[in-house]
């Protein structure tokens, strides 16, 4: 058991650090929070720079243009990009951490060749189309229908919480292809070109004001059958693959970012009570970071981060919210400005215990899958 990075990890760190030092000063100024066209431009430009330097898709296999970095190199990448305050994955989130890995695992060769290089270069932006107004935690209850008509599916329904739908080229769309099957068995996973006629995208104002979230209305939208990833009605299993990526890796960069913010907050916190609480939260985030290193070791040993990823998601999101609560108190009346970095973060992180599986759903999964507890009995009407 040791925490020492290998010589090759350290060589990678040195190379990356010097690239960041050269590249970051060349970046244009960052767009404002609600300038969505500007944010797409900025984030995809950053993705292109990563690609040109060989850092895009750091965890993707080489055959898809990635770097095939070892899990420990991925940690080094996150540590260094965060330390240098490099841009976050931003609008490339769904493509590079969600849809891309899913297509890589479950797509056919044509789909891999068509979509993966564009995601990696930052040429195409993806959005998510999973949740519906009536299918949140109970995602498998989704009702958006896809009916075969020749070589197309005709899709009708409504999606919600579609991150980046207003600026995306493609969506990962879950639809019901067999209305008569049990709810988990009649779902398919489609690639939805967002310029298809019949799609109406409406941004959702959140507690932050403008946001990346949208509602998407689908009215007789024709999607080629060739856009289906995996077998018809096998979409629920594929969705679990997507979630394994999301819950497994997507939060690690958030965690690194939270540790940096805690250190920034330390520069502002003077009151002994605030310092005390800060120490508490820093220790928690350090502990979750240690658990992440354990998951990384497991991923290197047997290809999957294992159950630890579920625990990281639950623990991280709650510690991050404590940090946010503390930051608002430290700021005192400076917190009355939503555009303060800490305030916008406090508001944004209210969603961490809701998105990608609420903390309550996470606890159900952990208690059933890891502790072997029985499922709660269904309510039945008598």
């Amino acid at each position: 058991m040791d925490l020492r990075y290998s010589e090759s990890d350290e060589a990678f760190r040195a190379e990356l650090r010097s690239w960041l030092a050269r590249s970051l000063p060349e970046l244009p100024s960052r767009p404002s929070w609600d300038d969505w066209a500007g944010r797409r431009r900025f984030d995809t430009d950053w993705q292109r720079r990563l690609f040109d330097a060989g850092y895009a898709g750091i965890n993707w296999p080489r055959e898809y243009g990635g770097r095939d970095a070892s899990p420990s190199e991925q940690l080094v990448f996150l540590e260094e990009t965060t330390r240098a305050r490099a841009p976050y994955v931003g609008v490339n989130f769904v493509g590079s951490l969600h849809a891309g890995p899913t297509i890589m695992t479950e797509g056919n060769d044509e789909q891999k060749n068509r979509y993966l290089p564009e995601i990696l270069r930052g040429d195409e932006v993806w959005c998510q189309g999973f949740s519906e107004p009536g299918a949140g935690s109970d995602l498998a209850a989704l009702r958006t229908s896809a009916v075969r008509d020749g070589d197309d599916y005709v899709v009708n329904g409504q999606k919600i919480w579609c991150s980046f739908a207003h600026i995306a080229d493609y969506g990962e769309l879950l639809v019901r292809t067999d209305p008569d099957a049990p709810k988990h068995r009649g779902i398919s996973w489609l690639v939805l070109p967002m310029d298809t006629p019949g799609i109406d995208v409406r941004p959702i104002d959140t507690v932050l004001g403008s946001s990346e979230f949208c509602e998407v209305f689908l009215d007789d939208v024709r999607v080629p059958v060739a856009n289906r990833v995996g077998a018809e009605n096998d979409g629920w299993r594929i969705t679990q693959v997507t979630f394994a990526f999301e819950r497994g890796t997507a939060f690690v960069s958030e965690l690194v970012e939270a540790r940096r913010m805690a250190e920034d907050l330390a520069g502002l916190a003077r009151d002994p009570a605030h310092r005390h609480e800060l120490g508490h939260v820093v220790a928690e985030l350090d502990g979750v970071w240690a658990l992440t290193k354990r998951n990384v070791t497991r991923a290197a040993r047997d290809g999957s981060p294992g159950d630890g990823a579920l625990m990281v998601k639950l623990a991280y999101s709650e510690s991050r919210q404590k940090l946010g609560d503390l930051s608002v108190r430290v700021l005192d009346r400076s917190a009355l400005d939503i555009d303060n970095e800490f305030v916008v973060e406090r508001l944004r992180t209210l969603a961490l215990t809701i998105a990608a599986g609420t903390s309550q759903i996470q606890r159900n999964i952990i208690s059933e899958r890891l502790l072997g507890l029985p499922r709660e009995q269904q309510w039945t009407s008598s």
Binding site: M1, D2, L3, R4, Y5, S6, D9, S72, L75, A262, E263, A266, G267, A269, R270, R275, H276, E277, L278, G279, H280, V282, A283, E284, D286, G287, V288, A290, L291, K293, R294, V296, T297, R298, A300, R301, G308, M311, L314, A315, Q360, Q362, R363, N364, I366, S367, E368, L370, L371, G372, L373, P374, R375, E376, Q377
Partner: protein, 308 residues
Amino acid sequence: MDFELSADQVALRHGIRSLCEGRFPIKRVRAGFDRGAHAELAEAGVFSLRTDGFGVADAAVVFEELGRAVVPGPLVWLYLANGLVDAVVGGLEVARRRPPWMVEHLDVLDTLLVVDDDGVQSVAAGKVAGALPVARPLDPLTPVHRVEQLPAGELVGEADLVARWRLEGAVVTAAFLVGAAEACTELSVAYAKERRQFDRPIGSFQAIKHLLADMLVRAEVARASVHAAACTLDDPDVGDVTRAVAGAKMLAGEAAITNGKTATQVHGGMGFTWEVDVHLYLKRAWALDTVLGSVDEHADAVAATVPG
């Protein structure tokens, strides 16, 4: 980086777990620490880990198992003092505290090591005068005497020894606490699967399941943190030793105390009884939070490592 137990550490864990299951079942544990227990643990090499060439990470593996079995005794002091004092020793931290001194396990000790900021004094246990036993110690397995005045001792270590003991001792104590937190989770999960109310196991209710999920996660985060602190002590280049150790003791203390309380709750009325073992874990956790830095002190210590 390989942040998992090595094959040797897995074997070590297995060996200590077998020792605890075979020689320290809960019935014997409830009889308390005595010279026989000391001899068996010493024979197994629990106290001589460092002099036998093991690292702090190995010691953390061992103490986690001792914590799971809630083995009583001044185990951490015996581990720290090995090679320095050849006797049954206990420890007493006096820095920033005032009498009466609450001395643990005095009746079994040969030597009491009095730890202050500037050094360690060795005091013959027989020379401690006027010690009054606490009739009902908080932890029934940690007997305590009240002592108003300590006799003069012999200096056996300077400030650098104290500094090392505070780091290493905090990590192995934290490992013990993690083991206690894990045992509380296991006891509670087993009970929730077996105990039936409303014609179903109480472990099927989300109100219970969520408590248990939190117990598991709390202990796992603390465990990773303790292992990280141990690895950092073994190889100080990989991180900030002070921050890693303080965070580990804080998280482990909190995990053991919170899991002890939650285990009491999950066991319902039975959790409030002397018969059910849960209280032994909770009481030990409270007792060990007063040793080598509390949750509160370590939270402040972590904050002090983050530049303000």
